[in-house]
Structure formats: structure tokens, C-alpha cells
């Protein structure tokens, strides 16, 4: 596993290309914005999105647990996409997965989608909270500063544009550490992305296929990016 190992506030942190953040001292794996049931939500509204995304996401989550040896999983919000996506196929797949990971403790931080979609069924024995303080960190969904610690958040689906001197650049999902909080990339395979507006001092780690790479700030890119566009 090509984890990028770094440190923040004295705590070791692993950033994994499967879009998870691991805190080895707490044996805790964090992921954000799984959006389970999103494809099903589309299908039940008459938009044909193929099935298979949930299974792939769950197996990637298993890989992460296996690679890190985590005993606790924290989902930083938007666990479910919408109430309409809680169809039998999706629910069964997740229930089976939970069954297979009986020893894992699962904590779900509620996000804006969860408000409408609802908490998982009680049988799954997930702990559902609005936020959770575990110094020096706070686990929450919305990226905003918190007085009790440094928040690790989701919600934004951050991505970063990486330029290439010899051709068009590319956009990759990223971990984004700002002075106020850190934002994790969206975990779900069927989720969109939003470009970040980088500030001086921010650290950005792009998820590229099977590695996580730190992206240094590029000169003159913080402002005046508009001049770049050609089409």
C-alpha cells in the first residue's frame, strides 16, 4: 500500500490512495462522503445508471481496513445519498459487508445528505453522531473551524488542478489541509468533485491512481488563473 505518511499536530497521519485517512495511534480509518445508494437513487428516478458502484466501493473499503489494520471506521458524513437510494440491493450489500466486519466499530458522522436519507438501521450497530471530539481532532462533516480541535471534514469533494508544462494538465481528488481544517476526498466512486481555491500555506495531497502525492503551490497560480484558459 502506497500510503503517504506525514504528521499533523504531533499526530502521525497516513494518506491512502483509496481515499482514506488513517490515524495509526488510534487505529482509526476515516473516509468521507461515501454516498451509498446514489446510483440507485438515479435509477429509481428513471435515470439509467449501471449497478456495481456500491460493491466496488465496499471492496475498496475492505482493502483499506486490511492494509491499515484499523479497528475503527469513521465516516465523515453523507453516508447515504438519499432516502430513495435505500433500496433492497444496496442495503443488503452493506449489511453483508458489516456482517463480514463484525469486529470493526463503525461511527457515522451525519452530513447534509444523511438528514434527508436517515441513519442506518439499528441492526448495523453503527454509532451516529453530529460531530465527535477526539483531541487534537474533531470529526465533522462541514469544513469549518472548531474551538475544541482541528476538524477533519468531508462535504466538499475536493480536487486539485495539476498543470503540465508540455500539455493539458489534469484534475485529481485530493486531501486538503488548511489552517482552519482538513478536507478529505469523497470516497464514493459515483461522486462528483469540486476544484479547491488554494490559499498560501495550504497543503494539498493529490490522489493519483495508486499513490498520494503532495502538490506544491505553483507560482502565480493562486491568482490570475483565468488567463490560462484557451477555450
Amino acid at each position: 500500500m502506497n500510503a503517504l505518511k506525514t504528521e499533523y499536530l504531533g499526530e502521525p497521519i497516513w494518506l491512502l490512495p483509496q481515499k482514506g485517512l488513517y490515524l495509526p495511534r488510534r487505529q482509526t480509518l476515516l473516509v468521507a462522503d461515501t454516498h451509498f445508494g446514489k446510483a440507485a437513487t438515479f435509477r429509481s428516478a428513471g435515470i439509467p445508471v449501471p449497478a456495481g458502484t456500491t460493491a466496488t466501493d465496499l471492496s475498496r473499503l475492505s482493502d483499506l481496513l486490511e492494509a491499515t489494520g484499523a479497528t475503527r471506521l469513521v465516516v465523515l458524513g453523507d453516508f447515504f445519498h438519499a432516502a430513495a437510494g435505500r433500496v433492497a440491493g444496496t442495503m443488503d450489500a452493506i449489511a453483508t459487508w458489516i456482517d463480514e466486519h463484525r469486529r470493526l466499530s463503525v461511527m457515522i458522522i451525519r452530513g447534509n445528505h444523511d438528514e434527508q436519507a436517515g441513519d442506518p438501521p439499528n441492526e448495523w450497530q453503527c454509532e451516529c453522531l453530529d460531530e465527535f471530539v477526539e483531541p487534537p481532532f474533531v470529526y465533522r462533516h462541514h469544513p469549518a473551524p472548531h474551538e475544541d480541535g482541528y476538524p477533519l471534514c468531508g462535504h466538499m469533494h475536493p480536487s486539485v488542478y495539476i498543470s503540465d508544462r508540455h500539455g493539458p494538465g489534469l484534475t485529481a481528488p485530493c486531501f486538503w489541509f488548511t489552517a482552519r481544517c482538513a478536507v478529505l476526498p469523497a470516497f464514493g466512486g459515483f461522486t462528483g468533485r469540486a476544484a479547491i481555491q488554494r490559499d498560501v500555506g495550504d497543503r494539498v495531497f493529490a490522489v493519483c491512481a495508486d499513490a498520494v502525492l503532495e502538490i506544491p503551490p505553483s507560482k502565480g497560480r493562486l491568482r490570475n488563473r483565468s488567463a490560462r484558459s484557451r477555450r
Partner: protein
């Protein structure tokens, strides 16, 4: 007094206004009276609309000769008039109403577009007007109601206005499908298309008529008048040796102003919306006194702004309007006496049509003054004039097998009371677009709307239509509502409204442009420098800025490639130049540049393919010049890059323009002739193209339109409830999901096919490679950039560097170096 006359006819109406109809108009009336269908083609502004409309009225008058017997109530709907632009509909209704009102006929003329008010819609629900002006989208929407047959089954005639604009687009396919339905209800329905001049008129007419067994051949009425068109060029006094896009243009400002001053009213056409903003500002800066007499007009400006400008053009109170193709179409601005074209004409028909916007008074000459933005455009003008004199005009290729549009039509008919599969298949196959639809493809579309795709397992929970006793009907009212909301085939990018903080709309910019700005940044829009205050709910609030500069937005689209006819004409001009023939003033002016090309490398003749190799700081570069227009050149470049990298892994950057393309690679691109021949062969062309599509972003980009039309991307509507937000996904994301989980989806196939046939124009590519196979290869090693390669190099610098300031500084420096080298020679 009209009442005193026993007989009323259109001739009387015309005589009263002392109008003499053109011969072709009389021929069109006769053809209409004979029950025929067909196509009328004539230059803009010669009364195409009246050629059919007066025929329709005349026909009615002939069968209702006794005025006393006229019904007191207006006649029921007889005619549908389809126009591609909502903006044109109001003007059109005005001119259609004039003769009806003058003759006090019991006819009404109404309008039904996306802009029609709820009150008007309600009135129409009770009773449709005798003639209804509408758009392809609104026609589809009407067909989606269960009472459509009852209401439209008795139509006598459908007129499709500006058919040349719809042909070759998916809206054209949508129109074909709608017409097939109407003809199915009334086999004697007459269809008439109105079109500007096209190279493939017969085909255009056939597409409109469809392929009903036993139908008559379409009747083609030509209104071509030998109108004099003058194409003149502003010649730069000091021809720069190294042209690059956008450089010469503003230098010619003084001459352009002089030309504007000579005329009463000028339309100044540019090729992009960004260019209109730049030119408008340049004119205003040079002539502040013109502030009240010049204006901007492009598709992203607010409707009210555009209407105001159009009104003043008609009144003749505008000195100059800077515009894009937004003024290519429709209503006539008789007072316009001159047209200026900035930059490449891109096509012969296009240049002629723009020229035709001036000189509408009888006997007047249409004048277009061309303004080059780089030196080779001088060659293009000379080539366009020669081709126009020989009447070599481009055609428009109709689209075939657009599965996304077909899927949409199936749901449209499904929610209008359902359909029986075999019956609808027969109907669909009468259209030109789907005449070759196979049973397998048909089954796939049915499966797509019923269960999402071929495999039963892939799409649980999904359905839009379901079969009930052999009829396909919608599964729920929600499906019906959502489909009606998203009917339409024009894909529009996510656009953001631009409004003043104090109120007042200015227009729209693309979301991607705005995403790069922060509050406080300035940009140029609608001829003003604006400061971004805040962005909220897809609206950008701005205030006027005192600064004089700002970023000019770039809008997607509008990057037309050079047409193949014009590209061929340009090749001929090069051949002439090589033989020492410099007849046109443009060619005389550009001569030193061509001379330099010949000295440093070679000027390719019609039977030569020039390939220039040189070494750049960034790596190895090669320039190839097939002169095939941008899209074909891009396709050839991709193909070559793929074939080179397949044997020998490398990453290659491709930059095409209308003349040729550059390949840039970290490894050597110096090949001998046999290797080039192999790279340029037609063998395995399609397989290789498909492979390189998968290795590139092209198909993914094309999927955007398809996803929208097929109902995968639900764009909602203004004020849509929040619940629809959960259904928003970008087409790129959907593309990835489809590739991973349903790779054989026909919509993916379609995306690839559209890239091949429309974007890269694989047919033209094949023809180009065939042509190249019999050509002489001129392999040249050039120590410095040549006049032909410089624009390609400059375009690459513009893309790969992050700011244009840097790029332009660098380019200026390079220009100086190169000019020095030329002087030292």
C-alpha cells in the same frame, strides 16, 4: 375599400403595396397550390418567408372566394412554422400577421416557444391559432401530450425555417422525428423547408421529406439572384513575417475605423464572443464619441440588450454593431450597407451569407470587407473569393442514428398515450436519420427506456416506460413530468447569470470561467469592465469597475474549422504562389511571407505533403501540413501520435490548426520516408482511431451532449424543487461509471461515433490519407520556425503556459529573434 371587391387575392394585396413578387416566389406559390412539398432556397433577405406564407394564404383565398361566406370564427390550426431561434419568432409573427390583418382574413397567428407566457399557453390549450410559430423543442413538447393527434392531426402544412441551420444538428433530427409523426397522422401533409444556399440542396430537401414509400420527389425552388457580392480586404502596409493568431487584428484598427466611417451602418462580424468584446472596447477607446452609436451583440448577452440593438439596427440609427454568428440568421436589417469580417472566414457559404446581410435595397451591392488577424488569412480571403466566383459552396451533412435523440422521442411518444413498438419503428424508419436503423439497434433503444440497458441485472429499480398489453406507457406521473422538463436537444453548458448588485441583467458567462475568478477580480463583459462582487445561486453579482482592463471571458463553442472546400481553395492559392502567380491583391501582400517559407523550408504545392522537423527546447517537434481544416488535422495528429507512441512509448502533445499540426515529444520524431508512409497509411484506420479515442478525452467530452439528450443528466428548470439536486451528476462522472460497469452501452458507442464522424470527420480523414498516399513527401529539417510552423508553435505556448502575459512576452521575444535572423540572411 376591400369589402367592395368581389374577389380577394394576394395579388391585390401586393398591388396595393406596389410590391412585385420575385419569380421564384410565384413558383413556390404554384408548387404549394399543386400540393407539393419541397425546399425554397434563396439568399437571406429576399422574402423566403413570404414565398410560402403568401402561397398558403392565396390557396385558402382561392377556395374561399366569396367573402360573405367566410366563417366568423377564426379557422382551426392549419400550419406549423418551425424556427430554430426563439429570438426570431416574434419578428416572424409580425410579418406573418401583416397580410392576414390587411385582408381581414379569419386567421390567427400565434407563437409557442419556451418564452410563451402561461396565459397565452392556456389560451392555446383551449384553441390553437390558425398558424403557430414554434421551435423544434416546443413541437416535441406538444407531441408529448395525449391529445396531440386530436389537436395537430389536421395540419395542412409545416414550414421549417432556416433549415440549413437545423440540418446537421440533433435539433434537425428531432425535427425529422416530429415530422414523421405528423405525416403519419396526415399523409397529405405538405412540408416546406426554407434554406440559405447549400452545396447539397437535394440531400437537404430529402432529409426534410423523409423516406415514405411512394412519396413524390421534393420540389426545389431556387431564388438565387445574380446579386453582386464584393469581397475586399484591408491590406496591412507592413506585413509581419511571423503571423500568429490575434496579432495583426488590432493593428488594423485605424483602417477599420476609416471603413466604418465611410458607411452609414456596419455589421462587424468576429468569429468568437471574446473577440466581439475585444473589438468593441478597441473601437470605443479610439472613438469615444461613438458611444451612443455602436453596440455589441452576441449570444451570451441578455435578451433585452439584444432586442434593443436589433431594433436600432432596423431603424438605421446604429453606426456599427460588433457581433458574432448571433446575427447570421433571420430578420433583415435593411439599413445595413456594409459588413466587416474579422479573421478567418472559415467557409465560403458563411462569408457569402455574412456579406449578404448588407445591401438589401434592390440593386444594391453586398459588400464585405475582410480584416486579417494573421498573414495567412490573406490567402484565405483570396481563396474564398475565387471559390465563391466558381460557386463552390459547402454542404451540411445530416446526422444519422442519433440514439440519444431516438431514446428521447420514444419517451415523448410513450408519455403521449403510449405506442406499439412495430408501429413506431415503421414511423421512425421513414426519417432520413433512422432509415437504416437495424432491428438490434431498435431493440436496444426499447430496452434502454424500459430497463436501462440490455442486461436485466445492470439496472435494478430503473424504468421509464413499461409494456402494458403491448403498449409502452410511462411507469409514473413523475416520469412524465421529468421528461417534459428536459425535452430538448441543445446542450447548454452550466451558465451563470451576470447581474448588477443594484439590479439589472447583463447576460450569462460559463461557470468554468467564473470558477477561476474571485470576488474583487475584474472581467470584461457586454463592453464593460465589471468587478465581481459575489456569486450566489448561479448568479454572479457585479458592479461597474473604473479599471480599464480585465480578463475577457472565453466561451465554449464557436470554434469552426476551415471547411474542406475552403481548405482546398487555399491549397490552390499556395500552388499558384509556387508557380509565381500572385494575381489577387491579398496574395501580392502576403508574398514576402510565402517567399520566406520557400527560402527556409518549402512552399508545398497541391501534390506535396510538407513535413518540417526541428528541435525545440521542450523536446523534438515535427510539423505536418495536410491543409485539411482544424478538425481533420486534429484527427490526423491524434492518429499519428497514437501510431508513433504505440511502437515506442512516449507522451506526445498535439496542437492542430486549420493548416496542419504539431507533434511534440520527448523522444525523436525524425523518421525516414517509408516510416512516414506507414504512419500515414489508411490501413486499420478505424481500429486505430477507436483505440486512440479510448486513450484520449475526446469521447468523454462528446458524451456530455448525449447524456443530456438521453435523459441521463437531469438539468431541472429554474425554481426546481430541491429534491432534484440529488439527481445531479456530471456527464464525465456518468461516462466513467458507464465505461466501468456497462461498457457495451450504445450511448458510449454513439459518443465514439460522433467524435469519429463529426468531430474528427473520419470520412474526410480517410479521403485525406488517400490523397496523401499519392502525394510527394517533402521532409525538411528546419533550424528555425518557419512562417507556417510559427502559428502552431505559438498556439502550443498559449495552451501549456499558465498566463498569457508570459506567453505573449515570450512570443514577442521570439518574433524579434526570428526577424533578426531573417534580416541577417
Amino acid at each position: 375599400m376591400i369589402e367592395s371587391r368581389p374577389l380577394i387575392s394576394i395579388d391585390h394585396w401586393l398591388a396595393e403595396r406596389s410590391w412585385r413578387p420575385f419569380d421564384y416566389q410565384r413558383r413556390a406559390w404554384q408548387a404549394y397550390r399543386d400540393g407539393e412539398s419541397g425546399l425554397v432556397h434563396a439568399p437571406t433577405g429576399t422574402g423566403k418567408s413570404y414565398s410560402i406564407w403568401l402561397g398558403v394564404l392565396d390557396n385558402w383565398l382561392a377556395t374561399h372566394s366569396q367573402r360573405d361566406c367566410w366563417p366568423t370564427k377564426p379557422e382551426p390550426i392549419q400550419l406549423l412554422w418551425i424556427t430554430p431561434m426563439r429570438a426570431l419568432a416574434n419578428d416572424l409573427v409580425g410579418s406573418l400577421r401583416a397580410p392576414v390583418a390587411d385582408l381581414a382574413m379569419p386567421w390567427t397567428v400565434g407563437i409557442r416557444t419556451g418564452d410563451t407566457s402561461a396565459a397565452e399557453r392556456k389560451k392555446q390549450k383551449a384553441r390553437l391559432p390558425t398558424a403557430l410559430v414554434t421551435t423544434p423543442e416546443s413541437m416535441s413538447l406538444m407531441l408529448s401530450y395525449p391529445d396531440a393527434r386530436e389537436r395537430l392531426g389536421e395540419l395542412q402544412c409545416v414550414v421549417v425555417d432556416e433549415w440549413h441551420e437545423l440540418l446537421g444538428t440533433k435539433r434537425g433530427v428531432q425535427t425529422e422525428l416530429g415530422l414523421a409523426r405528423l405525416r403519419n397522422w396526415n399523409p397529405r401533409l405538405q412540408t416546406w423547408g426554407l434554406s440559405a444556399t447549400l452545396g447539397n440542396l437535394e440531400e437537404a430537401a430529402q432529409v426534410l421529406m423523409g423516406h415514405r414509400p411512394g412519396a413524390d420527389r421534393p420540389c426545389i425552388v431556387s431564388g438565387e439572384t445574380p446579386k453582386e457580392i464584393q469581397i475586399r480586404t484591408i491590406l496591412p502596409v507592413d506585413i509581419e513575417r511571423f503571423p500568429w493568431a490575434g496579432h495583426l487584428g488590432v493593428r488594423l484598427l485605424d483602417q477599420v475605423i476609416a471603413v466604418i466611417e465611410q458607411a452609414k451602418s456596419t455589421l462587424l462580424f468576429t468569429n468568437t464572443r471574446s473577440q466581439t468584446e475585444i473589438w468593441f472596447r478597441a473601437l470605443l477607446a479610439a472613438r469615444p464619441a461613438w458611444a451612443a452609436e455602436i453596440a455589441l451583440h452576441h449570444g451570451s448577452l441578455d435578451r433585452d440588450v439584444r432586442s434593443y440593438v436589433e431594433g436600432r439596427l432596423r431603424d438605421g440609427t446604429m453606426r456599427c454593431v460588433v457581433c458574432t454568428s448571433s446575427l447570421d440568421l433571420g430578420v433583415d436589417f435593411t439599413p445595413v450597407d456594409q459588413v466587416i469580417q474579422i479573421g478567418s472566414p472559415k467557409g465560403i457559404a458563411r462569408l457569402l451569407q455574412r456579406a449578404g446581410r448588407s445591401g438589401h435595397q434592390p440593386g444594391a451591392v453586398s459588400r464585405v470587407v475582410c480584416v486579417p488577424t494573421h498573414a495567412f488569412e490573406l490567402v484565405e480571403y483570396a481563396a474564398a473569393r475565387s471559390a465563391a466566383m466558381r460557386r463552390q459552396i459547402e454542404g451540411r451533412q445530416p446526422i444519422e442514428l442519433a440514439m440519444d435523440v431516438l431514446a428521447q422521442q420514444l419517451v415523448t411518444i410513450g408519455i403521449a398515450g403510449g405506442f406499439i413498438a412495430d408501429e413506431l419503428l415503421a414511423e421512425v424508419r421513414t426519417t432520413h436519420a433512422f432509415r437504416r436503423l437495424t432491428d438490434t439497434q431498435w431493440q436496444w433503444v426499447l430496452d434502454f427506456v424500459v430497463r436501462g440497458g440490455q442486461s436485466l441485472r445492470a439496472y435494478p429499480e430503473y424504468s421509464r416506460l413499461m409494456p402494458v398489453d403491448g403498449r409502452y406507457v410511462p411507469v409514473s406521473q413523475r416520469v412524465v413530468r421529468m421528461h417534459r422538463m428536459s425535452i430538448g436537444t441543445i446542450s447548454s453548458d452550466a451558465s451563470v447569470q451576470v447581474k448588477y448588485l443594484k439590479g439589472g441583467r447583463l447576460g450569462t458567462v460559463e461557470e468554468s470561467f467564473l470558477a477561476r475568478l474571485r470576488p474583487g477580480d475584474c472581467f470584461v463583459f457586454a463592453g464593460k469592465t465589471l468587478e465581481l462582487a459575489l456569486v450566489r445561486d448561479l448568479t454572479a453579482y457585479v458592479r461597474k469597475s473604473k479599471k480599464t482592463s480585465g480578463t475577457v471571458p472565453r466561451w465554449d463553442g464557436g470554434r469552426f474549422p476551415l471547411s474542406s472546400q475552403l481548405a482546398a481553395a487555399v491549397r490552390e492559392k499556395f500552388a499558384d504562389a509556387r508557380d509565381g502567380l500572385f494575381d489577387d491583391p491579398e496574395m501580392k501582400t502576403v508574398r514576402p511571407v510565402l517567399q520566406l517559407q520557400n527560402d527556409w523550408s518549402q512552399l508545398p504545392g497541391p501534390n506535396d505533403l510538407l513535413i518540417e522537423n526541428s528541435k525545440a527546447r521542450e523536446g523534438h517537434q515535427v510539423f505536418v501540413y495536410p491543409f485539411e481544416g482544424r478538425s481533420v488535422n486534429e484527427g490526423l495528429a491524434m492518429l499519428l501520435a497514437y501510431r508513433i507512441a504505440r511502437n515506442d512509448p512516449a507522451s506526445i502533445t498535439v496542437t492542430p490548426n486549420d493548416y496542419g499540426f504539431e507533434l511534440l515529444s520527448s523522444s525523436s520524431l525524425e523518421f525516414d520516408e517509408p516510416r512516414w508512409r506507414k504512419l500515414l497509411s489508411t490501413e486499420d484506420l478505424l481500429e486505430d482511431l477507436l483505440d486512440c479515442l479510448n486513450a484520449s478525452e475526446l469521447a468523454r467530452r462528446q458524451f456530455r451532449d448525449i447524456a443530456r439528450v438521453a435523459g441521463l443528466v437531469f438539468s431541472g428548470y429554474p425554481g426546481a424543487p430541491k429534491s432534484t439536486r440529488q439527481l445531479q451528476a456530471s456527464s464525465g462522472l456518468l461516462y466513467d461509471v458507464f465505461c466501468e460497469y456497462d461498457a457495451h452501452n450504445l450511448l458510449l458507442d454513439q459518443a465514439r461515433r460522433e467524435v469519429l464522424t463529426q468531430q474528427l470527420e473520419s470520412g474526410r480523414m480517410f479521403a485525406a490519407l488517400e490523397r496523401i498516399s499519392s502525394m510527394r513527401l517533402l521532409l525538411r529539417f528546419t533550424p528555425r520556425l518557419t512562417p507556417l510552423s510559427f502559428p502552431l508553435w505559438a498556439a502550443r505556448i498559449q495552451t501549456s503556459h499558465l498566463t498569457t502575459e508570459k506567453a505573449s512576452t515570450r512570443i514577442e521575444r521570439m518574433v524579434k529573434q526570428l526577424e533578426k535572423a531573417a534580416g541577417d540572411k
